[in-house]
Amino acid sequence: MKTKLVSLLNQKINRQYIQLAFALLALAILVLGAGAPMEGGGIGF
């Protein structure tokens, strides 16, 4: 059962897609952290 699940995951999730997701997340973090403005200046209205 476990090996079946692992092989299914290997088929479905390509390593490159995971790397791409991490790279996109890093870029989003970079923009957010570098100065993306917060809605309402972060005051919550």
Partner: protein, 182 residues
């Protein structure tokens, strides 16, 4: 991707090095500005230190990838934002006039000059008391936009850098292409 399709090429996402550094760099900001549980407990002095630390680490991450297209614009934006933040005590200055576009005027009037703006990265400062005022959060989105935010010249550079990075797929312009662009 649309640009790559138009150029009849397949889209190749740029290879970004040192991803871990971006995640580590963001942790102080995540705690100080984004997570409701922690941001209410962190004093302003620690929040400003978190912002500066985080931006320095993000600068290191951007420098690690400085050979990618658009990264120099992004680094420029980061440096501009960092300069104005450091020059004004650790937060990004915003004028009361700009702040009144983001929240009701009564909220701004109830605040004192020099107060931190909510749990965000901004501090309320009069333009005449602001160092490097041209680099502060002085630009506003048009009123017809549902999302209201103030942004700085550094933010414009950062957004342009990311746009260029994704458009060029991380590949810098060759000298011949640069000449054609001029």
């Amino acid at each position: 991707m649309a640009y790559a399709c138009w150029q009849k090429q397949s889209y190749q996402f740029p290879t970004i090095n040192g991803l871990w550094l971006a995640f580590v760099a963001f942790i102080p900001q995540l705690l100080a500005f984004y997570l409701p549980v922690t941001r209410t407990r962190i004093p302003d002095i620690l929040a400003s230190a978190s912002l500066i630390t985080s931006q320095v680490l993000l600068l290191a991450f951007a420098w690690t990838n400085h050979k990618l297209a658009g990264m120099w614009l992004l680094i420029g934006g980061l440096v501009l934002n960092l300069a104005v933040i450091v020059a004004n005590g650790g937060f990004m200055p915003i004028s009361p006039q700009a702040a009144e576009h983001l929240v009701p005027a009564s909220v701004v009037q109830s605040m004192d000059v020099g107060d931190r703006f909510g749990f965000g990265k901004d501090v309320l400062l009069l333009p005449e008391d602001t160092h490097l005022v041209v680099l502060s959060d002085q630009f506003l989105l048009p009123d017809r936009f549902h999302y209201q935010a103030a942004f700085s010249l550094g933010d414009v550079f950062i957004a342009s850098g990311i746009f260029w990075l994704l458009l060029r797929q991380g590949i810098p312009l060759r000298p011949l292409e640069r000449l054609k662009c001029l």
